[in-house]
Amino acid sequence: MSNIALLTGNQAIARGFFEAGGVVAASYPGSPTVEIMESLKEYKDMHAHWAMNEKVALEIAIGGSFAGARSLASMKHVGVNIAADPFMTFTQIRTHGGFVLVVGDDPGLSSSQNEQDSRFFAKFAHCALLEPSTPQEAKDYVGLGLSISEEYGMPVIIRLTSTLCHSRGAVLLGERTPPSIAGFTPDQARYCMLPPHANAQQHFMQERIAKLALATDSLALNTYEDTDRRDVLLVTSGLPYQFLAELDLGYSVFKLGLCYPLPIAKLKEIAAEYARVIVIEELMPFIEEQLRAAGIDASGKQFFPFTGALTTDGIRVGLVRAGILQQGTTGAGTPPPAIPRTPMLCSGCPHRPVFHILQKAKALVIGDIGCYSLGILEPFEVLKTNLSMGASLGIMQGMAMAHRTADKARAFVAVIGDGTFFHSGLSGFANITESKENITIIVLDNRTTAMTGGQPTPTTGDLGQATHAISITEVLKSFGIQDISVADQFDYSNTKNVIMGAMKRDGLSVVVVTRPCALNFDVREPHFYVDRDICISCRACIGVNCPPISMKVYEGQNKKNSYIDPNMCVGCSVCSQVCPVKAIKRSTAPEEARP
């Protein structure tokens, strides 16, 4: 048993890279693929690197591959958009060291801003697309993908979905193949992508895909489960295959591990034997459209949703719609829906006072991506746009221009975190330095990429194990920005004065707020409590919206007063600073005496 382990899809990808003699791996943290890099970092003898953004991560892996080392880049689906520029040109080059791009799609948007189907990138880039359905396959497909990459001279995309990334299954462990690294051999025709070299590669890309499509039988990636029934052939891939297997229906199934290119000739031959061909796939009809284009009378999306994660229940419903199954039975019944529980900023989160100040100031705030995206939700509802990493700066600039032209000039505020600042905020800042509009940018420097589990940023410095930190204020000064102030959010009134002052000044002003992430750096001070003899039940503290603070009827009372759960409060003091009658006080009781 000892060489079998229970691994998540993410851990299995890391293991596969290790065993296949992988050398250079890079990533930028984003759910659902964060754990790939975290697991890779546990292996010795390889480079596992958190890069500043997905483009840099991809380029690092490209460099490794150019030098003949097996390389991997991992990222969430929207990260591929950032990395698409180098990827679309890199794919033209005949690959040297095996190269896999592992992408985590997020059907259902459990932690993403869009639901794009990354499989289309494979077709777009004329490269192979592998879709594992179990952690074991996830591990195996890394080695297979690297081999395909080397043999056919193309990058290979391994596409996961959030459920597979986070689901565990048994994985057979093997030994590491020792890496062999040939080193980089200069060859301008191969590596310099300009005409005429790049022109020739257009033909190369077509040929390699055609060649791979013919070789799929020998690759053991696709399986045909022929049950002798000839009424329906189900074509599927990835986790939907496992969901389907759960129903144990007895229909023939063609399971694709290689979703691009498809073994079209073979599928045509098999499909001809069946009365109906039904494709079961999540999101867009990627497989279905390829089959139809090849003249196979396939259907699918008319029965299955184009959005959301597919499950066993979803497949059952779709097959009922397709007239293949009868309606099933259910279990304990459907109770009235329980009240929702939306995510919240943590106790002691340093973003909270900033949102509270901006809400009271009725500021027009352009949001960005990170934990602070939660400023969209009630009760703050202060962020008015949320798009993509670093987008706040350009959006605000354009909006301000349009408003001025319409004689509707006003103060604009943007918020951006330290991770996003270095990911793709720098160019937006460089662009905005000379703006004459009334623009205030608040940099929420909490010294970590908090949303994805606390990976370091260039400002982490001595709070982590880094030897040096880049100062955001110094960077911005070097851009020629004059109006920069710094504030500590836990000094509420000073932070308020600094932000309000900056909003009043014309031109660009920057406020860098400096409190570190409460969760990641485990900030914990003696808790606060409400002195209910003083509390006037005004609910000002409720507006601060910290998880420990609620209104409750204390014993022997007939009205509600504020209450702070001492087990949840981490003692940041912000609620006490907004209470108009100073009813919230810091406990002097030692930790053990907490009720």
Binding site: S110, H166, R168, Q242, T342, M451
Partner: protein, 191 residues
């Protein structure tokens, strides 16, 4: 036959570790195992869940509707949320813990009353566990999940030694003895 266990809680309660431990025990016992947890935005105090499925041929890591045999609820409201995933007669191990969701803090929603009684109306067998007070008596509120695992272990076909083995490998080494004690108190409540 596949056994389906759903674990539900609030982001930050340590659900991923609990899922890993339950899955690890079934795996150690030689069964086929699939698990899943939600990770992501919901971790910031949102609703989170995990699934563990074990048996002789397990395909999906997710529990189909109406198939859940057990629900381990780390919080009362979260115990109510997933009833439609459970079989009639399923066992709910319910921690007597309430964490107000945002809209309850804002007085826009009322937190549900008498959750055990509500679960009973759906024909579920509810086992209430004072996991937090037991954990606090042991001096560390993070032991609450281990107390709950102890309670759940009474209903699953695995030896206590297997549980303890996996537990020891999964928790910080400085807390092994406390976790063993918490597991024991969950398994055999001293009345």
């Amino acid at each position: 036959m596949t056994t389906n266990i759903l674990i539900a809680g609030v982001g930050g309660q340590g659900l991923v570790l609990a899922t890993r431990i339950v899955g690890g025990v079934a795996f150690r016992a030689g069964l086929q195992v699939k698990t899943c947890d939600v990770i992501g935005l919901a971790q910031r105090g949102g609703m989170v869940w995990g699934s563990v499925r074990f048996g002789h041929a397990v395909h999906s890591p997710l529990i189909p509707e109406g198939q859940g045999d057990f629900l381990l609820a780390m919080e009362e409201l979260e115990g109510l949320r997933w009833v439609s995933l459970l079989k009639a007669g399923a066992v709910v191990v319910l921690s007597r813990e309430t964490i107000l969701p945002n809209r309850a803090l804002l007085e826009k929603d009322d937190y549900p009353k008498d959750v055990p009684a509500q679960l009973a109306t759906h024909g579920l067998k509810t086992v209430c566990v004072e996991a937090n007070s037991i954990a606090r008596q042991l001096g560390n509120k993070r032991l609450a999940n281990t107390v709950l695992l102890g309670a759940l272990s009474n209903y699953l076909p695995f030896a206590p030694d297997t549980w303890l083995e996996v537990l020891r490998e999964s928790v910080p080494s400085a807390t092994i003895e406390l976790n063993e004690a918490a597991f024991g108190l969950g398994r055999t409540p001293s009345l």
